[in-house]
Symmetry: C2
Amino acid sequence: MSDALPLGSTIGILGGGQLGRMLAMAAARLGYLAQVYDPAPGCPAAQVAPCVTAAWDDAEALDAFAAAVDVVTYEFENIPATTLDRLAETRAIRPSRQALRISQDRLPEKEFLNRIGLETAAFMAVTSEQDLAEALSRLGSPAILKTRRLGYDGKGQVRITDPAEVPTAWAAVAGRDRTVDAILEGFVPFEHEISVIGARGLDGRIACFDPAENVHRDGILRTSTVPAGVPARVTQDAVLATARILSALDYVGVIGVEFFVAAGRLVVNEIAPRVHNSGHWTEAGCAVDQFEQHIRAITGWPLGDGARHADVQMENLIGDDIRHIPRIAQEADARLHLYGKAEARPGRKMGHVNRIVRRG
Amino acid sequence: MSDALPLGSTIGILGGGQLGRMLAMAAARLGYLAQVYDPAPGCPAAQVAPCVTAAWDDAEALDAFAAAVDVVTYEFENIPATTLDRLAETRAIRPSRQALRISQDRLPEKEFLNRIGLETAAFMAVTSEQDLAEALSRLGSPAILKTRRLGYDGKGQVRITDPAEVPTAWAAVAGRDRTVDAILEGFVPFEHEISVIGARGLDGRIACFDPAENVHRDGILRTSTVPAGVPARVTQDAVLATARILSALDYVGVIGVEFFVAAGRLVVNEIAPRVHNSGHWTEAGCAVDQFEQHIRAITGWPLGDGARHADVQMENLIGDDIRHIPRIAQEADARLHLYGKAEARPGRKMGHVNRIVRRG
């Protein structure tokens, strides 16, 4: 730990949503200061750390931010390249630009995964309605059309079950301009969705948390449960695949890797170069949670070992789910974590609850 | 919970040390905002919540603070009465003035405890060297001379083992003026020191965490361990005594009650009307920790039930104990919590570590 960032140093966090907020609190618990950068005034992280409110292309604000922090990290992958270019002139960005570049775009992401020997859904790049028709005839129905960039929580994607749906599907994803960089993915008839939250330290060591089993509804994660209901061989393979990704990217920080389990085979769905919603269970199940793990990685601490000391189910509180808070507050083994968002819009993640499942 | 403070309300915290800091973080996790008031610039809580830096007698700052918050609480008991008078004009203060008045002064505190049927050390009020000599001849040696107010971590007290020490002892405690309101306490030859962190909600319900066994060194808490190494009857009596104190004070919030266990009898040492260092283990051992429990109590939430799901030892990191951080960071079951203090002075609490003790 002699090379670790000294206590009292400042960690710059790009993005002040709930992930940035929880990263800032983890930084504080390790004796670091946090400084957040977000274009949106009144972002959730601003309640727990000083926050710069400025646009991603505000050169002056970016320079001042870089000068005020000792290392830069981020809570989401869709930060403009020009922003990162400017910050990278004077500060280390962890995870690296390379990791971000690959995971920002579904096409190089899948190519990278295949290159290192991991299975993905079949895919084809698509930039026009004609491309789409051709790709669909090759990959077959059903298939999923996705924008290559900027999708999250099921946004920017549409499922196609019949060739006749091509024009509507293209219009839905390409929008008014009728042009977008998209990808068509073959449908994977999976039995389980699982994810691994892994981390790699500055020293190259890797630690992974146990795979969680995820349930989505309307494209949004509802619950993550550990242990996942899959054979030990599958969880082990998922951890090994995550380690392979971390090493191949020379990664520093926490990563989230989503897998489908299809006929006992592991298919990588996507990777997120950051702390991940499906890792919130670690707050209740591990001595070092994913947020602290990320701060440890990017500041040069030894990683926590990822060992799990309890069975946990994490449930997202989305939109008006917050009406259940009075009931949840009465549950003996529930740990509630709210994000300080004023308005409960549909689909908006307002908080989560970790339930410690007692073993019989 | 229909009467609970609405989410997004602001909790005013008097005192911005590590306890105020951890209260602010717990408030955030429940969806509340925090605002801290502390005369010291750069206090630890200011890193995680907005902080007013102003003197305790700054009427203008106090009025602005009261206007900006929805309820007032505090992290330590030695807040000037005039400060509280001013705030109480417009805002509820929880725990109440009455609880604070009793625990601020060792004399009414002991009288109160005896009045509700709880045993304390024998004691006599002392205001002069002559009083002290007389009290010592009545209570016998050894005995402990303490200032009635403002003592903490062993400060403001001296042990007397022989009547010949009376002049030096008085000088040490009374200082240059040779006058102070003090108390002489008979020595309790105890086998164990334990403490109970209890809470009482706005609805009058009570929940206590398991008693911890405490080890002090040089008057400062070193470790708190659960379960305590005392018979079940003793821990049960300690919980019942804590509940009696909470009810008698019509208390709202978290309280810390320290006991000696002497020949199997419980002797109350002192009460602290706030979250307490010996309750930090709850962060690792309970679904709802003492900080969240306090926020729940003062905002009208149902209390967590206090159930413990792990055996834990909490160790304080004092002064240059922080040199052990690299070793602690490698321990698999250690949860580190640092307070963001820049300078590691001797006797200064820099952080703590909770170690989850695996049962064999």
